[in-house]
Symmetry: D2
Subunit: 338 residues, 4 copies
């Protein structure tokens, strides 16, 4: 069986998850190289993931490592040039979302992808590979709910992560660019249409620190789509019960709702609080299988010379919408998109 030799760029929390999947959990991948600016991360990768070919310089890894592909799990602002460099070095590329933090960056990445149709490019919209979301899409494609015309998406981080959110606030581009990209992608994916207008607002009731950086704790946005459909996104950072990602797709013949209760597992406790279900506490717990499934698909695509369902244009479009949402939130006015 042919294996895809992969190099990983970035070994932070999520990078390490991807590296472990590549090294141990996917039949047809090998973790052949790793690059990080943090020496301790490289030591850990050597010790635990068995990778021996390590780099502190990304371009050196591209030039010297015996790899077919790279996985880019770095700060968002670096994604696009790193994508371009890898493609131009002849490597297949998997890149974490978002594609970039500025439209001109995204256009560079688009151009690089277009220059290299022989290479596989995939953006890490892992929710599409979660079994519940994939099931919903299959049902919709099989017309189980008729024509979808409204998506209601919720994404709220657990309150437990709030100090980190406060710390990065200001540099993150604001709540919508920071948190709504997945929800925006899901709306586009489920509705099969492009957003044309957005109206957004925000609120901060618990942690006034967000106001200091002109950010908000919670955001709500309403979207119009080209085909007449509509979307609602609610993102936030202060769920006391855990990590709440919920999506509802309303169609002419039915509705699919995913994860109304963001359950930790299948157990229910009957106690003095009533009947209770504990919740997942973060994206690594909620989407562990999805991170694995997307990388499996990436490897298969690269080995088989295919492109995955998520394209570079999905990255550009979602970023574009994220910017428009941010503009509406800041100005208080509806903003046309595209």
């Amino acid at each position: 069986m042919k294996k895809l030799r992969m190099g990983i760029l970035g070994l932070g929390r999520l990078g390490y998850i991807h590296a472990t999947n590549i090294a141990y959990k996917i039949p047809n991948t090998t973790l052949a190289a790793a690059c990080s600016l943090v020496p301790e991360e490289l030591e850990r990768a050597k010790a635990e993931l068995g990778v021996t070919d390590v780099y502190s310089d990304y371009r050196q890894m591209l030039a010297n490592a015996d790899i077919d592909a790279v996985a880019i799990i770095t700060p968002s602002g670096d994604h696009c040039w790193q994508i371009e460099a890898a493609l131009d070095a002849g490597k297949h590329v998997f890149c974490e979302k978002p594609l970039g933090v500025a439209m001109d960056q995204c256009k560079l990445a688009e151009a690089a992808v277009e220059r290299h149709p022989e290479l596989t490019f995939m953006l890490g919209f892992m929710r599409r590979y979660d079994k519940s979301y994939a099931y919903a899409k299959q049902k919709i494609d099989a017309e189980a709910i008729g024509t979808p015309y409204l998506v209601k998406a919720t994404g709220v981080d657990p309150e437990g992560l709030i100090q980190n959110a406060i710390r990065i606030s200001g540099g993150s581009g604001g709540i919508f660019l920071d948190m709504a990209i997945h929800d925006i992608d899901l709306m586009r994916w489920f509705l099969g249409s492009e957003a044309t207008e957005v109206y957004a607002m925000g609120a901060t009731f618990k942690h006034p620190e967000f106001k200091k950086t002109d950010d908000d704790e919670t955001g709500v946005a309403a979207y119009k789509f080209a085909n007449g459909a509509m979307g609602i996104v609610h993102v936030g950072r202060t769920a006391p019960y855990g990590y709440h990602v919920e999506t509802e797709i309303v169609g002419t013949e039915g509705t699919i709702r995913i994860s109304a209760v963001p359950e930790k597992n299948l157990a229910q406790l009957y106690n003095t609080s009533g009947v209770c279900t504990e919740c997942v506490q973060g994206f690594p717990e909620r989407f562990a299988d999805a991170y694995l499934a997307e990388m499996e698909e990436f490897a298969l695509c690269a080995l088989e010379g295919r492109q995955p369902g998520v394209s570079v244009y999905d990255g550009t479009k979602s970023t574009l919408i994220g910017y428009a949402t941010t503009e509406s939130w800041k100005t208080g006015k509806p903003v046309k998109i595209g």
Copy 2:
């Protein structure tokens, strides 16, 4: 519109619920008389329910009150003679469950009912009139689950009532006679067959007081039915979360489960305990509508000269099964029924 003039016997907690329904909540009933040994209860009925014709002697009420029917809500050991007296006085009779606490009593009641086919008799198996249970029965009658062959019934009182349960333990006939009669009736009703054998057991882990009276806190019984079907009953007294009545009917083509979560209402709380549903806290809360619906049906039956779905024989049979269950529990051996 013709109204049924009713007298109530017994104005305790449940008696007062029935009296209120008769007085105010049912179009075709009038609360025309009331009888209680407790003067304060009669005073309250006068003040709040507007009944003026009150008695401390049951036979005097039967002899003198201008009533068509009586509702008997008294201690179980008195039901049968009170039924007999009312029927022989020409009154329709509604009687709370159980029919009686001894088989010879039940036979007296049966004979009285048979002597008066012109009168309506109804036993208060109110669960049959609960909208969820009635729905389940309709679905089963419509063959939605094929042939039902297993009923799993649960009935657990809230821990909050435990002191009363301890107090009456010893005089109650034990946990199965005290608590399993409704579940036994439901098994017979849903399966459409009679129990032929039972094996029962009990346990006491929290309140050793029950052991002093040879009673138990929790009971489990398994039943065989004449048509080959099976039943399981779990009754208890120590649910920390509330009043848990749950019933599952398993059939060849599907299963119906009623009240897996004994929800207080339709609200869910998402908080640090997870996602929680508060529970109902007792039978008056859980079955308020069923108490009303059964009395409405009784009144209609009496006015229209019909007999309701619950007959005196349902009372005798469930008591018989309750005794057999108790015998198995006490002896540790399976007991044949009937």
Copy 3:
């Protein structure tokens, strides 16, 4: 016990529900008179509800009937003058929602209420009296979810009622005035603040007939509130599964969600479709108890000389917001409120 003598105006579907409650289900009300333009409705009320004093002319009922109060269940456009007439005739008034269909009407009603502080006036926002909604409000008032800052409200009629919705479309004022008044009231009630801006949109994917009258099948609106809180309303007419009223109140310390599954009862069916819960099929089924509870509260208020929690101003405010929502929907622009 003192009883409130009530006359009912309007005996259509909902009017008859109220009339039955007044006649039979509430201890301290008497249905003393009825008024309708439809002779058959009056005949039915005589036969089934036992009312003998009937009128085809509202002002005659006010002048001649021996009543303390009226319940007005008529087309929305008539509410305000009927309220005024009743109050000026010295009657307590219960009126179905909405208060009116034009702001100047509402102001007339407000003035009449202010002229008669000695009389009880109540608007029929019955959801507030539903046990799940009342429980949510109690929890919120007890600070169970901290400070509420976002309400997400859904109200979708069953597809089965669509022909009627199409028929009245054009005369109804559009989907928001027709369907969102309850959700608007709930937002105000739960957030304890007034809406200051709205942005609304609509879509029609299944029944193009709505487009002919410039109406829509589905509407979505986003609101800003004076205290910084936010609201989202989704109303529609085409739920294939039943009548879907769901409300979520998000607070700094937790969330309460009401009726995520608009269950018909407590039964679940396990069959070849999976595990299924059937849904309620309309407002009479969903809110039967709430219609009763609100009228009980009205009667108590009138007898005790109190005003209920729902005031005439709640009616004015919700209508004002409904108009602003409609304007935003029609113009595609955000609209300031008040």
Copy 4:
């Protein structure tokens, strides 16, 4: 990182799942050899799992392969001698449940395990490693539900597998030995006590073929435990909705229920059937992660010189209870255990 070199014996449906986990999904295992009587299975393992050292004779694999451990996934009747042979050959052993199909076999396996305390032995009670069951056990150990005193266990296969069940009926030892071993193990595990008596019964309503081999389609058993606790097991083969494994542990301070709805994923469909959740369709789908987790634990135990939580005695005890259950079912009488 040290890796455990494993040989697999048996490459049927479940064997292949284990082989894939060993080969690709666990960091510290290597699939170093495989043995099967079916040449096609070995070819597939070579092609897809990359194993090159294959055998058709188990003893040859033990003698010649460069392996530290074996995983035995063969017909139940062969488990015990295969365990003995592997241990005596100095290999760590993972064996699928049940330990054996006769008590004397089990005793041989016990003796072999006792002869080799230096080797790790693990029985494949994978449910204990499912995240929901492991969570329940942690909660119980943390006294979240006080003292557990009743376990209600359900295990029903999907109707879709019925033809296979009919085919093997007669040779399987009957429904309890075939299907209840996991539930029996769970009762012992959660209650921390041994069963002392069982009363069992069976029923066949849909597929009379089972009666021809003195088997049943559905079985119900009630257990008494040494510490006074109780257990109920319901096993069956005809669930139309999927694979239904549900377990409830009732304690003095609360109850934990696992998988009341055997959901396929987190999606709910709102359609004309109501609100529906599709169900898992078999053990490979339901317990995929548990099969992986148990093998990870086995490898860690072998590498670290530990014994896992599941011992050979758990295998003997559950088989013993399975036999007693079968005897009660066949004789219709309670049977003492041990």
